[in-house]
Symmetry: none
Subunit: 209 residues, 4 copies
DNA sequence: CATGAATGAGTCTTCATTCAT
DNA sequence: TATGAATGAAGACTCATTCAT
């Protein structure tokens, strides 16, 4: 009994290990410049072994990106459920959750921070592409809802909620990416305070007078 | 006589044509996934012809990216010269100039919106890398100066100018990128109003109270 | 158990097969005019397979040339150890060993008979180049020592030992090369008797009076 | 009138200049590794211009190699005409003439010192190949005749004349090649004395007792 | 006569993927 | 399950050759 379970656990850990290494490389070097050879070498397994766990390079990529995005989606949906909560808090919670998921799973960084519609279209089969799109749309939608709630609650100016979501979302992404590049040089991680400051500023703008 | 001139003009137009096609592909698909084969096919020339105009793929990339960034640098430096001008106007001018340059030269999109320090380090020789870095730093610096001016003029809160620059800059980049991906589906170009709204919001935050 | 060994043997035989075919082509056509495509075709393997065994074309070349030269070096050093032996015999032994190594490994033919300092300098990394140079110098040195011994023993005239070595060495190489070209037409292999006759003549010249 | 002549002279000098540069490169780097681009660059003409004077790269090669070999052939035939002359002197004359021609025309170096039957067969059309072969055979034949004359005159031992010719010829070639490689390092030109010493030695061997 | 421009064919090299063991 | 070995397809780059001017 225990043997089967152990095998199962080992298999999963192996799988996750591949994913983690691949995620880091995909993020650092991009999809095309990441070779299965390097992933295999770092994971200290044979290249062929990767094919036991993933059908193709695309598949590996998808299997990294989808779970992170799905997890974020679940969390944002949960956060958005509380319709009574002041919008400002909801917005901050969404940002926090997003940052949290991304910090814990650098692989998903790649997806979002370097997301290029055209690239995905070439890379993924339609159903997978659609799934990712729908997840992203959902996440984006939660932010939009929160901003709209703020407007309805009279906390925020009467602005275009969608537009504000775009701004918040991109500000977040921009900061991440900017600081990533910076971290190549400096070692200190300023991502959290920078994001917080950015959100403060935008919220101040939303609430001012 | 006129013959030489015409030849010259033809050569330059050919060169620009290659650059434009390459810029679009680099932007859409990234450096690694763009093949010279495809560039040649789209430009309806032979692959070898590209090598008449550019020493290598790296070189082609650099020749696309550098001029746009240099042009932006020139414009921003000029804008920043007027130290009397109210900071808010200067900030808007910087944003406008940036957008202007980028809209006229989609190639530079790629550099900035997908800029990855690590990738460049592998791609470019040291002197070219340094040149790009210095241009980017200069551009960023102008924004920082403008924000600082606003603080000194008592128009903006006493915030970290550098941080605000990061936010503004990334907001800009984020909006561009977001809308780019969006434009793959819809055809309307919302980039300008979205950027303006974003800047409005951030400036409002900076000035509030 | 035996499986692993058999695999090992197969791998080595494959490697040697590639080397043999490559050696022949390098010899017949020179480095630049020998394509990996042709090597692969003749070995009835894929071009990519070559890269499983050798890091590059240069590497393949070096791996062919170095072992033969090193083997020759070992043998000549051993022969030269006997300082009592009459010089004439030592010289003949050196020639015999050289011929032996070269006949058993046509790849090394190329190196020595077509050796061009300039070509190697472009082809090989410094440490490999140095290694080959040092091997060649060592081999040459053994001959020089043997001739000097003959002079000291009073068997040979008092000539410049270095010069005589050059003559002997090149005579050997020349005969090989000449006969090689000839063999393209005739099929009989006159290399051994021709070399022997050449050495006889030169030794006679050294000893005359 | 004079104009036509000047043009003619200019054309010939241009032609010879191309040949000289090409000869040097062919010799130093080999046929395959010498590019018309480099020849053109060094001659400060356009690559296309080379095609005004030579039908192809092969043709250029042949036009370099053939005249030198033909000139040598003419001289050797003349030398061999004097059947009364002591064989030793004739042999030395042949060697001197050979060296002379080669020193004055490094292009022919390449042909003979790096002559590879197989390469030529691929490179040249049958009639040209046959012509070169016949020239080389003729040159070789003169040496053979001279040695035979020495035997008939009772000056040389009764050896195989053909074999001795091979030895002499290759000794010459070997020394040239060896010293060429050496000259890459040292600058002094030891080719003449080394060849002379080699010939002395061999002649001594031929005459001893 | 001379050349700048263009290109097709070929070269080395990499890599995702398959398969026998 | 795991892997070493093999490969087809593709990519960057070079070069001899042609041609319009």
């Amino acid at each position: 009994m225990g043997i089967v379970e152990r095998k199962q656990r080992e298999k999963e850990s192996r799988l996750r290990q591949i994913q983690e290494i691949a995620a880091e490389l995909f993020y650092k070097k991009g999809y095309a410049e990441t070779s299965l050879d390097e992933i295999a070498r770092r994971a200290e397994i044979s290249k062929a072994t990767i094919y036991l766990y993933f059908k193709s390079k695309d598949d590996l990529y998808y299997q990294i990106v989808e779970p992170a995005l799905a997890e974020l989606s679940r969390r944002l949906i949960k956060i958005a459920e509380d319709t009574e909560e002041p919008a400002e808090i909801t917005v901050r919670k969404i940002i926090d959750a997003t940052r949290d998921v991304f910090f814990n799973d650098p692989g998903s960084y790649h997806l979002v921070s370097h997301y290029r519609a055209a690239e995905f279209k070439r890379l993924l089969p339609k159903n997978r592409l659609d799934n990712l799109k729908s997840l992203m749309r959902s996440n984006f939608h939660q932010m939009e809802q929160a901003v709209q709630k703020g407007i309805d609650q009279g906390i925020f100016h009467n602005v275009d909620a969608k537009l504000v979501s775009i701004i918040l979302w991109n500000c977040f992404m921009g900061v991440i990416q900017f600081q990533e590049n910076r971290m190549d040089l400096e070692s200190t991680d300023y991502r959290k305070p920078t994001i917080d400051a950015a959100v403060d500023l935008i919220l101040k703008g939303l609430k001012s007078r």
